[in-house]
Subunit: 245 residues, 2 copies
DNA sequence: ACAAAAGTGTTGTGCGTACACCCATGC
DNA sequence: GCATGGGTGTACGCACAACACTTTTGT
């Protein structure tokens, strides 16, 4: 390939990955103790640098997989951070990605192996550089997308109960929702398939398991239907305003 | 500053700017005949490279001002494009920005001076590289933002008429709107100030001019109000489905 | 006088919201 | 038998969509 554009500045291009998971009824974030200078030992997002022969999307997947062993994950570009002094190690620009993970036992072990940790988003430690800002932006993006598309399902196991789903939505919006309205709305979409099994971990009665109908969803999307999941505008119900994500 | 991160690949970081304007009742885009190789002479967005001592936001402003003489513009980061082969001139990644401009006579001359041209978005010529994709994404972003915040006003002169405003919204959503519903909704926000002047260019009767109340808007935003301008879901009225942007 | 665009109100209905009680089970 | 969480239906009010005629003025 002929080289044009000689004489222009070149830059280190980093990627940082905000990895969301949902576990024990809480929205969690995967963070890592940084293994190199500068800021070695401090909490950080999963990061790495863009290589010569890969797109950013590819690099993001590679980095996530290198640092956690995870693959096949819903990932999305968020925003580039480019303050000249954002990284004391060198002038870098960093492209933030966010990822939604269905945490399972396997992933929990993997993350541990790699020294990563799932931290409830309400109890995040301070992160290096501008990583906390990145998390803030990612949360806003997650909220916005959740109200437009059913991406919440990317955070749940294949089989899940309605109370789990509701709890997930509540964690994301930071508001408590009315059980009956929630169930009505979510079932009305026709995108949930009720299974014949019950989950009996979290209650004596047990809750029915559902799965998300990806095929139906995709065919709706092709037809141009939009899903405005209306759960966003739910109201706070029992004086508990302290639910903050 | 100590240098860390040695040995990682460095990259050319380009910026491309999708500049929207609204003129003669149409949504338009500012495009440019490229002045250098590769693809010299073909239509392209306003572009340039990130410098050593500037953030992307700063670079975007600089580039827009260098290529068109425009400054003080609403600008927003859109998305990074990073396919390895996206630019035949060299491996570059490009950060797309979009800008909203109040076209006035002055700007029209400036753009001409710089060899830029305002083209109706319905009649865009093919653009180089992945620039057409960028425009597509920018349009989606514009539509989304328009339904959430009153950014449409960034595209109109300080004083504007309601028919103009409606026509702008129609251009953006690609749908015709009902006059009465539109006026009711938009006036109900309380964000428009009716002036004592009429604009008489486009009709014999003349239409009252309004201005947008930025102060009121900002104070609402501070109080945490959200503006869901509901115009998005307007319906097509007179069988004219051909309005496509 | 007529063409062309600006301006103006009302009504129906569907959706979102609020709300309270029974059910199944494990201990 | 009781505590715990799962599951269910209805009524009200509002906000959105549909809809047609009058006004002004330049030619």
């Amino acid at each position: 390939m002929t080289r044009y554009y000689n004489g222009y500045e070149q830059h280190l291009v980093a990627l940082d990955c905000i990895v969301f998971g949902f576990d024990e009824g809480e929205l969690k974030l995967l963070v890592l103790k940084r293994k190199f200078e500068p800021a070695k030992g401090e909490w950080s997002l999963m990061g790495g640098f863009l290589g010569k022969s890969e797109s950013l999307d590819e690099a993001a997947c590679r980095i996530l997989s290198q640092l956690t062993g995870l693959s096949n994950i819903y990932m999305k570009q968020l925003l580039v951070f480019s303050d000249v002094a954002r990284d004391p190690g060198a002038r870098t620009i960093s492209v933030a990605y966010y990822a939604l993970i269905k945490i399972d036992e396997n992933d929990r072990l993997l993350a541990e192996t790699y020294g990563a940790e799932w931290v409830p988003i309400k109890q995040l430690p301070p992160l290096i550089f501008d990583h906390s800002q990145m998390v803030e932006k990612a949360l806003e993006a997650l909220r916005r997308r959740t109200s437009r598309e059913p991406i919440g399902f990317e955070l749940l196991p294949v089989k899940f109960t309605l109370p789990q789903l509701q709890s997930l939505y509540e964690s994301i919006c930071g508001e408590l929702l009315d059980k009956r309205n929630f169930r009505k709305q979510i079932l009305e979409t026709g995108l949930l398939v009720k299974l014949d099994e019950k989950e009996k971990e979290s209650s004596k009665k047990g809750a029915f398991l559902y799965k998300f109908d990806h095929n139906k969803y995709n065919s709706y999307v092709e037809k141009g239907f939009l899903f405005q999941l209306k759960v966003k505008s739910g109201h706070i119900i029992k004086g508990n305003n302290s639910l903050q994500v």
